[in-house]
């Protein structure tokens, strides 16, 4: 097989951590090659090196057989390497065409560029209106902007960093068709993911990274998901077990909740209704930006809602604030760990005190009882296996997974009647994610009601007894999670918006 791109002994160290350790692999023309690894395994650093955003300490790369060492992204683009970022590098206030133009080396005038965008997006089944503002687009549409931006430059190697994390299952299918079409045309694709099923269906070869080093190269279609997972994590993972639920009486009742959007590009909540019983976990799925933030703010009390819209054990809490709700037993764990769930520069003890002072009686006459607060923080650290030097460490100093265990543990130890969490395992390594999910299941078993809002559908199916989809600010009727298929869930999430029709006429459909 001829090779298009090779990496040879790439090494990059940051203070305290070796992000890439002697990484070597190769990609052939038209090959879809997977880079598989956990969060923190060094995938992102590796692709940033290829795209010229990071300079390796050691090692070399070749492209088309010639040495390749891009000084910056524009050098990489000139050489034929394009990248779709995990966190989109898009500008909300600018139009689609302007966004595309910014990512190109020598963009044509806007009018001609707009026509090219329409052409290319049709050809690959990714319809886009070049004059729309990016801030008004859905996550799937934003990704199309990124992809079209890359395609217009006719890349030889296309890097995709976790492209499916924001897509509905139907959108994923369409994306895969586009990628296969590109591969048939000779474009190599470096596909980064930690979703094993995707890689097994899409990729020809996979390079598996663990703690910065290559641990294996294999053909994913010939390996089982369990084998891949073991290579990736280093040990067999135990999946949390979900007991048969016997929901008790209703604890949290939401009826006809309607709220204006939280920000200029937010979503209006429309007539959201659901109930959660004691011992039950309700999973709310949906692509980000469909009202999750608003729903969380309404449940936590950060945004007051109408009288009677939210009831906790029969009592109307629609207009009460977060403090009263916490006192009554409704606790929340927001999505953003640093800045929302925890104050980055404050110690773990202080962060524990911030939400726990009422229910754990950490204050007296307005004075903080530091001894008790410290004990509480130490209890969280011990019971949830938070790896940290101690309760005096700043929240910022913890890794994502450890901090997440801490903020979730902090709420669980306060014995909530209802716990609402948003994206509880986002950006967390597999072992910590399993521990967090198990903790949520245990909490429900002890009789609390739990609401899990997540974009990770596998996660929801793993923990939730019932599933509801949030789409455009509306919540579907909750259905039992057992026996739900991905396809059914995809349809509940609003399907693929307008993408389906476009592909029907394409030759590769």
């Amino acid at each position: 097989m001829t090779t298009l791109f090779t990496a040879d002994g790439l090494t990059k160290a940051y203070p305290g951590v070796v992000a890439n350790d002697d990484v070597s692999f190769s990609v052939g023309p038209g090959e879809i090659h997977a880079l598989l690894g956990e969060n923190g395994a060094g995938k992102s650093t590796l692709v940033k090196t290829i795209f010229g955003l990071v300079k390796p300490d050691r090692g070399a790369m070749t492209l088309h057989g010639a040495p390749f060492a891009p000084a910056d992204p524009s050098a990489a683009r000139r050489a034929g390497v394009a990248m779709v970022f995990q966190h989109f590098s898009l500008f909300d206030a600018l139009s689609v065409a302007e966004n595309v133009g910014l990512g190109m080396e020598n963009p044509p005038p806007l009018g001609r560029l707009a026509r090219r965008i329409t052409e290319v997006s049709r050809e690959y089944g990714l319809p886009l209106d070049p004059s729309r503002r990016v801030g008004d687009l859905s996550a799937g549409e934003r990704q199309r902007v990124e992809i079209v931006r890359c395609l217009l430059q006719d890349p030889k190697l296309l890097i995709m960093d976790e492209p499916t994390s924001v897509l509905t299952p139907q959108e994923v299918e369409i994306l895969f068709r586009t990628l296969n079409q590109l591969s048939d045309e000779g474009t190599a694709i470096l596909y980064i993911s930690h979703k094993l099923d995707e890689i097994r269906t899409l990729c020809e070869r996979a390079t598996i990274l663990r703690r910065g080093a290559v641990v294996a190269t294999c053909r994913p279609s010939e390996a089982s998901s369990a084998e891949l997972a073991e290579l990736m994590v280093g040990s067999a993972l135990s999946r949390p077990e979900r007991p048969a639920e016997t929901p008790g009486g209703t604890i949290l009742e939401v009826t006809g909740l309607t709220l204006p959007p939280a920000s200029a590009f937010g979503t209006r909540l429309q007539d959201v209704s659901f109930t959660v019983g004691a011992g039950e976990i309700l999973g709310i799925g949906g692509v980000a930006g469909n009202g999750q933030d608003e729903l969380l703010a309404a449940l936590s009390g950060e945004m007051p809602s109408a009288e009677g819209a939210i009831r906790l054990e029969g009592a109307d809490i629609g207009r009460t604030g977060p403090r009263e709700r916490r006192a009554l037993g409704l606790l929340t764990g927001p999505e953003e760990r640093l800045g929302h769930a925890a104050a980055p520069d404050m110690s773990l003890t202080e962060n524990a005190t911030l939400t726990g002072w009422q229910r754990e009686e950490l204050t007296r006459n307005g004075l903080i009882r530091w001894g008790r607060a410290r004990d509480f923080a130490e209890r969280i650290i011990a019971e949830f296996d938070v790896r940290t030097p101690g309760p005096d460490a700043a929240a910022r100093a913890l890794s994502g997974g450890n901090l997440q265990k801490f903020v979730i543990g902090r709420e669980i130890l306060q014995r909530p009647r209802v716990l609402v969490v948003n994206q509880p395992t986002w950006g967390v390594d597999a072992a910590a994610a399993a521990a967090i999910r198990q903790a949520l299941l245990d909490l429900a078993r002890e009789g609390s009601a739990v609401v899990v809002v997540s974009q990770d559908l596998d996660e929801i199916l793993e923990v939730a007894g019932r599933f509801a989809a949030l789409n455009g600010g509306r919540l579907s009727e909750p259905v039992p999670a057992d026996g739900l298929t991905m396809e059914r869930i995809g349809l509940m999430l609003g399907g693929a918006h307008d993408m389906e029709a476009a592909h029907a006429g394409a030759p590769h459909a």
Binding site: G52, F85, F91, L102, G135, A264
Partner: protein, 310 residues
Amino acid sequence: MDLSSINWLLLIAALMVGATPILLAAIGELVVERSGVLNLGVEGMMITGAICGFAVAVKTGSPALGFLGGALGGAVLSLVFGLLTQVFLSNQVATGLALTLFGLGLSALMGQSYVGIRPPATPKLDLGPLSDIPVLGPILFRHDPMIYISILIVALVWAVLFRTRAGLILRATGESAEAAHALGYRVIRIRLLAIACGGALAGLGGAYLSLVRVPQWTEGMTAGAGWIALALVVFASWRPWRVLIGAYLFGGLTVLQLNLQAAGMKMPVEYLSMSPYIITILVLVLISSGRGRISTSAPAALGRTFHAST
């Protein structure tokens, strides 16, 4: 009060002169803010420009060189701000406020020997028969060149921001420095250029004040014009032509207040002097209440420190 004593033609002509310093400073600050940087030191850069321009004009006898000197003085001072906030990552608000105080002090020191001197006069532009057109002539065609240059600058800023790739990159940097960096743009260099440009225009506005509008040097002569310019950028929701309209409105209020005073109005003039600021506060409240489109027109990354993580 005798309103007939006011010559409305002269008033409108004076309005353009009164508005030009604010206009220049505001259009400069607009460029800076569009790149995502909030420089609150406009007042300091203006007054530094005023004394630099004044000194150069007096020494060389040439108003044109004076304006150039003013722009240069403002730009140099703004680069102090740029160095502190972009390279040493200091807080933009605090640094901007410090820049204003520093500029006021520095200009007072530099200007000690220039108090009470008259600068060389800036000639009016001779537009021949155009100036003799009734009504329009005195209003539009009997001014010094800087008035026309300032309007040209507004047009130029508009064209660059919205019609060129360089302007697109500048606006993109103001929307999301991280995304711009990921695409390979040099965020810090772009922002430093924008800051220098803003400083130069603020300095030019200051020089206009000391060379044409007053024209002499007194300590603290900008008297809050820099703050009005800052408010004006928000008021105009970061759009160049609206800055022009806003500057003439605010400039108009200042001139009108002087005329009303002369006409013997009973109401304390302080009310009128307050009015630009009151309007500004009202507009700011409307904006931060989050209603309507105006709240979304601010550059998304405005005032946020950018540090490349790689």
